[in-house]
Symmetry: C2
Subunit: 339 residues, 2 copies
C-alpha cells in the first residue's frame, strides 16, 4: 500500500481517468491528495464516495507524498517534478519531458516492468501512440525478433486535451450549420478533415510525435536496432487512437501463430474476423483499458512482413491506465519493504 | 470532336461531376445525351446552359452513340456496356467490372495514355484509391524504379456515393444530439469513428479494395514486380481520399530530387513545407482535379525508402476527372481520323 498518493493534474481529461483507474485497478493508498493548477484549487472532487478538495500545485503541497501520478503538460512537469523528487516522492510522469532522460525508466508494465527498479525518483509513462504499438509488437518481438516497423496513425483529438474534444464537437456543429469552423487547438479545422501534423517539425521532415514513436520504442524495447518509420495524422474522432502497423520480424511467423501470440499477450484483445465484419474500431474501444488488434495479414510478398490494425483508448492505456499500472507495480514494491 | 457523347449515370454523384468536367476540360461533342436508371428518366438537367432530358438506360438508347462516359455500379456496367459496344460505341467505364479484363485497357492519362490504342470498345478508369497513388508514384518509378509500396488509406465516405455522404451528415447530427447513429450504407456508425473495411473479404485477409490497389497498380504500370501492400480505412470525411504512402525505389533519390520530380509530374501538386504548416488536407483538395503530395520524408534507415502523404478528390481525379481525360484522349484520336 502507498501511504500518501497524490494525483497531479487531477481535474484534466486524463487526471479524471487516473482517479477512475485507481478504483478499477484497486490501487491501495492510505491518503489521496489531488493537486492541480491554481485555477482549479478549491474545487471539490468526489473519489470513491469521498469529497476531496483540490490543492494548488506548489512545492509545499508535495511534502509528505510517497507516490505521485501526474498528467500535466511538459512545461508543468519540468517545474514541479523536481519539487516532488527533492521531497522524497516517486513520480509517475505522463508528460514527455523526462521520457528520454537516461536516468528515467520509460515503462509499459506488460513490456518492461523490470525497468522500474532503476528509477531515481521519476518513472515516465510513454506517449499514447507509442504505448499501444509497443504493447502489440512485444509478443511478435519476443517470438521472432523485429527488424522494422512502418506505422501510420489515425489519432483522436482527445490526445490534445478536453478543449480539443470540445473544439471537434463545436466545429462539427458549425460546419453542419453552414458556418465557418473556428480552430484554436488545431492549426486547421478538424471537423470532416484530416490534419497530417501532430507536434512540430523535429527531424528531417518528421514531426516530434513521429520521432517519439522511434525513440520511445527503442528505449522501452531496449533495442535501438528496430527501424521505425511513423506518419502521424489527426482524425475527427473523439477518443481512441488507431494505427495501421506494418512490421517485419526477423523470422517468419504463420498467420495462426501470430493470432495465437496476440491472443495470449497481456493487455491485448484480438478482434480479427473480417468475414464476420469483426475488427477494432475507436467507438468500440473507447473507455476500455486494452489494446485491440485485428485485420491481421501476412505480406503478399515478404515472408516476414505482417500488417495489422491496432486501436486503443489514448486516454486509458495511452495515458491514465498505464500510469496507474506503474503505480500498482510500485505499490507491490512498497508491500515488499518491511514497514 | 466526338459526334455523339453519352454520359451514363448522369444523375449520380460522379455523373454530375462528369458533366462539370466535360465543360472544364472543354471536351468537344456534337450532341450530348444523358442516360440514367428508369427512376431518373424524364428529369431535366442543365448542361452548359442547355436543358437536356435524362433518358432511361436501355439498349435502344445507345444507338448512334460514339463515346460513352459511364459512372455506374459494377452490376449495371456488366449489363449495359455490351449493349453500347455492340452498337459501335467506345465506353469509358468507371466501374470495376471490366478493369482486370486483359482485353480492356486500364488508363490514367498521365501514366499510360498509350494503352488506349489497344481498346476493343471498352476503356476502364481505375479505382479512386489506386489512381491517386499511381499518379504520385509514376515520377518516382520512372526516375528510380519501384520495388515496393506499403500504403494506408484514409478514404472519404463519398467513395460510397451520395447516400453515404448524407449518412455521414445525418449520423453526425444524431450523435451530437445524443441519439444513436443509424448506419445503412456502412456496416457500422461512421460519424466520429473509423471503419477498417472497404469492400469485402477477398484474399488472405485483404479486402477487395486493398487487392484492387495491388492488381490495378500492376496493370496500369505494366509491371507485376511492384510489391504492394494496402490497408484501406473509411474515415468520417465527406470528400477527398488521403493516403500515407511508403515506397522503396530501386535506386536512392535525394529529398531535393524527389521534390523536383513531384513538382514536374503531370497532375501532381506539391504542398510540402511542414515548418510553415503546409501540407495537403481533404478540405483543401476537394473540388480540385489534382493529386496533392506533401510530408515527404526519406526513410530514417533504408536508403531507398520514401514516405509521403497524398490527397485527392476521389470523385474528381479518382473518378470523373480521369474518365473525362480519357474522353479527351479519344477525342484527339477522333480528330486525327479523316471524317
Amino acid at each position: 500500500m502507498i501511504k500518501t498518493l497524490a494525483v497531479v493534474g487531477a481535474t484534466g481529461a486524463v487526471g479524471q481517468i487516473v482517479l477512475e483507474e485507481i478504483q478499477q485497478q484497486n490501487l491501495q493508498y492510505g491518503r489521496l491528495r489531488l493537486l492541480a493548477s491554481k485555477r482549479s484549487a478549491g474545487k471539490q472532487v468526489t473519489v470513491a464516495g469521498k469529497s476531496i478538495t483540490v490543492e494548488a500545485l506548489e512545492p509545499s503541497a508535495l511534502e509528505g507524498v510517497d507516490v505521485v501520478i501526474a498528467s500535466t503538460p511538459d512545461e508543468v512537469a519540468a517545474e514541479f517534478v523536481p519539487w516532488a523528487v527533492e521531497r522524497g516522492a516517486i513520480v509517475v510522469d505522463e508528460s514527455a519531458f523526462f521520457r528520454m532522460d537516461p536516468k528515467v525508466p520509460l515503462v509499459i508494465p506488460e513490456v518492461n516492468p523490470e525497468a522500474i527498479h532503476d528509477h531515481q525518483g521519476i518513472i515516465a509513462s510513454p506517449n499514447c501512440s507509442t504505448t499501444q504499438m509497443v504493447v502489440a509488437l512485444k509478443p511478435l518481438y519476443d517470438a521472432a525478433g523485429l527488424k522494422r516497423v512502418i506505422v501510420s496513425t489515425y489519432q483522436a483529438v482527445s490526445g490534445a486535451g478536453l478543449a480539443a474534444q470540445e473544439e471537434l464537437v463545436k466545429n462539427t456543429q458549425l460546419q453542419l450549420s453552414g458556418a465557418a469552423q473556428q480552430p484554436s487547438m488545431f492549426p486547421y479545422p478538424i471537423a470532416f478533415n484530416l490534419i497530417p501534423q501532430i507536434g512540430s517539425l523535429k527531424h528531417e521532415g518528421f514531426t516530434s510525435e513521429e520521432m517519439k514513436m522511434v525513440h520511445e520504442t527503442h528505449k522501452i524495447m531496449g533495442d535501438n536496432t528496430i527501424q521505425v518509420n511513423a506518419t502521424c495524422i489527426r482524425v475527427p474522432v473523439l477518443i481512441g487512437h488507431s494505427e495501421s502497423i506494418y512490421c517485419e520480424t526477423a523470422e517468419p511467423l504463420s498467420l495462426e501463430r501470430i493470432r495465437e501470440l496476440f491472443r495470449n499477450a497481456p493487455g491485448v484483445t484480438l478482434v480479427d474476423d473480417l468475414g464476420a465484419k469483426r475488427y477494432p474500431m475507436p467507438r468500440d474501444c473507447a473507455n476500455k483499458p486494452d489494446v485491440f488488434v485485428g485485420r491481421i495479414r501476412k505480406d503478399l510478398n515478404h515472408p516476414c512482413g505482417i500488417s495489422f490494425w491496432c486501436v486503443s483508448d489514448n486516454l486509458r492505456k495511452g495515458a491514465a491506465t498505464n500510469a496507474v499500472q506503474i503505480g500498482k507495480l510500485l505499490s507491490d514494491k512498497f508491500a515488499n519493504v518491511p514497514a
